[in-house]
Subunit: 418 residues, 2 copies
Amino acid sequence: MSSTSLGMAHTSSRSAILDVIRAAGTISRVELTHATGLTGATISTVVRRLMNEGLVVEAGQAESTGGKPRRLLRLDPNARYAVGVHLDHAGITYVLANLGGAIVGRWRKSGAGSDDPQEVVTRMVGEIDAMITRVGVDHARVLGIGVVSPGPITASVGMVLAPPIMQRWADYPLGDALEDAVGVPVLLDNDATAAAIGEYWAGGIETTSAFAALYMGTGIGAGVLVNGTVYRGSSSNAGEVGHICVDVDGPECWCGSQGCVEALAGPAAVVAAAQAQGLDLGQPDRTIAEQFAAVARAALRGEPAAQEILQRSARFIGVAAQTLANVMDLDLVVLTGPSFALAGSIYLPTVEDQLGRSFFARGSHPVRVTISSNASEAAAVGAAALVLQSELAPRQSGLRIPAELMAEGDGKPVQTLA
Amino acid sequence: MSSTSLGMAHTSSRSAILDVIRAAGTISRVELTHATGLTGATISTVVRRLMNEGLVVEAGQAESTGGKPRRLLRLDPNARYAVGVHLDHAGITYVLANLGGAIVGRWRKSGAGSDDPQEVVTRMVGEIDAMITRVGVDHARVLGIGVVSPGPITASVGMVLAPPIMQRWADYPLGDALEDAVGVPVLLDNDATAAAIGEYWAGGIETTSAFAALYMGTGIGAGVLVNGTVYRGSSSNAGEVGHICVDVDGPECWCGSQGCVEALAGPAAVVAAAQAQGLDLGQPDRTIAEQFAAVARAALRGEPAAQEILQRSARFIGVAAQTLANVMDLDLVVLTGPSFALAGSIYLPTVEDQLGRSFFARGSHPVRVTISSNASEAAAVGAAALVLQSELAPRQSGLRIPAELMAEGDGKPVQTLA
């Protein structure tokens, strides 16, 4: 009810009606007029159009209350789909989500590496097309594509300050290039922000009013959701915890600052420390992500040198989490992203301990710390959620994932493509 | 229009009508029915009540459009007043604001010091009463009192983790004690948050979508407003930049953590450094605020030792500002609070330089840095704004200061009490 009436003056009747039907599960036309405040004639016209588009279907009759029986309406979860893409140096993750919010397909392919952006986009177009085909979804039902990537972004251009490993993407018009190639809308966002949306969407985060997804891939970032709404700041570049300075005289960082947490404790720093100590990280041509994984596995096997290196990293990450919690007054931090998918259990106790001892408002409430159950895929899931959300309630400032979208959908089995 | 229709489902008709009249300046009853969606009968009843209460007055007639001339309504800015109190160790600042948003009285009295909280509250009651009387306002027209203070707060109790200098206030039921004594509602908030509201309210901050008031009194904090709405986090304790860790092996801080910016660079650290270098800071019984002022004056006179100490402090504050900007994606930082009122010109270039070189999303937009034109009073002004806001639109989550409230009121001269 609340999001509906709040949105009324701002969203089109179409989105509003769609949103009320989604929120209600099943609802009659008469109930729709009450819930939206729109006239019966408007409801009739819009519902007819939504049924013609296949978005809404009839779902039996409501129990009679004396008068004419009322036919119920519901959303068809498989009427539309959204693609979520997490574009990273080390890997590209694709998911396909239906309008009901269920993930019906997932695919992990090799990363952007140092390839030419245009070539990567061409490959992405092919891989998106192949995923949709292999899951067996009609391409015409795909609403759009959400693409999330590291680094500061702008809505029009993409990465304006790409991490060093993705320098070729700086100022590359990713959104336009992909949209031209696929012919459906493309939404861009930061991967850590999307990971927060993905964590929220995938469920399990019920009792939080302000939480951060602390994301570690090759870099470190965070997305923050407050009462289900993304905190975006002035240009959607909030949550850059990797570039919190924890040592004013510390090493220079690629971002132009010095003593950044990412430079001191990120995967590249961990790998450099491991190399300096002569740890075996496999072939020298392996990526930072692969070498970080080697350090993490060594630590999990109990090798003291690897454990010590990761403990030192965890101490800095814990301090960054404390700063994030103190600045944004969080009650939950979820460790997510591919690096925490591997090494989360090593980082968790240190981050928990730091927040337990040092969170400033601990007299008011604690900050819980958990490891994501979906750490390697949360960003791609969030990317798909962005697209679905834009269809259901396009004009809200700041994304709000409706609780209903977090359901598991229609129970159709999810296809994981190999 | 937007805030009105948005609030419709949630606020009472009374607040909604009051808010539409305020936003419109002058408006007829017919226009009110269109703007609120309420029936003509409801509008008539509520407007009659508001006029009886003196909140709304008639303001001439609208130009006739053929039919019966329509009488216009407007808010009476002097119908109600709000008191804002900034309670700090070093001083207590009082302001009196009218419903139109103009500051009509201000008073600065000695601080809480180490006095017993109950005695301080008794003194505050007397000083509030005296200010209202001396400005010549009817006590019955005072809506409530906003009290802002340092440290983590809870709505019911007050400071749950008071700074060391105000330890006696920890767990003291400030809100209840004051409300019992004065008989009008008392709102509590953090002083840095209130300073942000005060900066926004006092005007001059037009072109920002996310700004922070970086507040330095005896401690260091920040309030952040995003599109005019306070960012509060999960328990209204956001913006604790003084407890950003910038040195994992740094000195212990009273908050329980170590290497906090406040411990390394706050006024107490500046005074300690000055004492260690043998600078003359006057009588040894002077407060930290007075001694910090002595260092600031020495630096402004050109004494190199004092300048060097403040430069070192500024470097840490600059790093904290960078972290705050990176985490919250700010486009403006305003230096405010009594310590920046004195020493802002020394800190400004260093903070500006740090953000210019190191703000992570500088490829998207810059972060401006300014010194408040009202640095010593912004928190008290914000405290009064909280009360006015609660009358005009009580149910909004997160405070939104209407642009119209930022006007200079009716031009009545402001009384500064001695």
